[in-house]
Assembly symmetry: C2
Homo-oligomer: 185 residues x 2
Amino acid sequence: NVAHGLAWSFYFGYLKLVLPRLEDSIVEFCSTHTAGKFETKGSRKLLILIPVNANITHKLEDADTNICFYDNLPNTEIDRAGVRGRVYKHSVYSLLDQNKKAHHCVVEHATPLLTLYRMSQDSSAGFAAKDRREQVLLFYRTLKDILERSIECRNRYRLILVNDEHEEDSHFLSKAILKTLDQQE
Amino acid sequence: NVAHGLAWSFYFGYLKLVLPRLEDSIVEFCSTHTAGKFETKGSRKLLILIPVNANITHKLEDADTNICFYDNLPNTEIDRAGVRGRVYKHSVYSLLDQNKKAHHCVVEHATPLLTLYRMSQDSSAGFAAKDRREQVLLFYRTLKDILERSIECRNRYRLILVNDEHEEDSHFLSKAILKTLDQQE
Ligand SMILES: Nc1nc(=O)c2ncn([C@@H]3O[C@@H]4COP(=O)(O)O[C@H]5[C@@H](O)[C@H](n6cnc7c(N)ncnc76)O[C@@H]5COP(=O)(O)O[C@@H]3[C@@H]4O)c2[nH]1
């Protein structure tokens, strides 16, 4: 079950390292970005998008014109497995709601889904396209369990399962993200 | 089989992206590092260390005093899954051989082994410590097959399986790496 290992990899190789540093990163970002108010509906969490069809865009604004790249949080550098000062960063996006009001958030796709997608296209990987949706849901459930039990990660993230049934709505992604931000107030 | 998915992830999420750019990266490095000669025994490949006990050090010099960090290759920035300009880089090390002559190489551990190691320590991951060695060897074999069939990666890497039987030799890691460099002449 590929999704199981990829969820653990995402935790040990990334979320466990970066989530404890997120708060400080946002504080530093706010101190250097005084031009505009960093309006995040009170959210200082990493929003992690999990599209059920594993269809991941590299630039979120390509998926929805109500999403604009704003800036990157400051880099974190960590020595990892022989790579000196490997860089970890997150991107901040500005989202327009239905009233054209802008909100900022730290959001990205769950990168391991790219591997699931590519494996389903390569016949030698032993992973069929029809299994993909099931594997994405397994990834989501496994990751959810791991993170709920993790002291380092607790309350520092939101997992957003993105359904593909609404794709005819060209703003369904920004709406899905904003809905999640509203849910935590 | 966790190792199977991690090998594919290492390929699609890293090696397939960075290996085609390695040559240019080294050329740029040599043009900015004219003080000392970049002596690599003719190797312009990424050396990937795979320790069978999955015991990965974050700084290679901690494993062997004949290994010194030299400098990093220039950064590569790629937009990935919503992270704008995600940074990929490699570290260059200087290795002393038995005659105290220095050789440079671009070397790092296979990062997914960290996940295998951590999973074997976490009882909820469903992966026992006694399975680790077998999973590392499966990772190695799977990765070897994928890379041999990859046009993007061919001839741009060397996989170095590092046995743990020689750990009483404090210079076994530098010797294992140098032996690999010699083998390609
Ligand atoms: N040596 C090395 N240098 C790198 O820059 C690098 N980037 C990825 N990898 C390894 O390749 C494979 C595929 O990467 P992917 O991005 O799909 O998953 C990654 C990704 O989802 C997430 N992650 C890790 N680093 C970052 C990062 N800097 N930004 C965003 N996500 C990250 O956490 C997963 C596991 O990471 P690692 O456990 O470090 O090993 C990865 C993985 O085995 C790297 N290995």
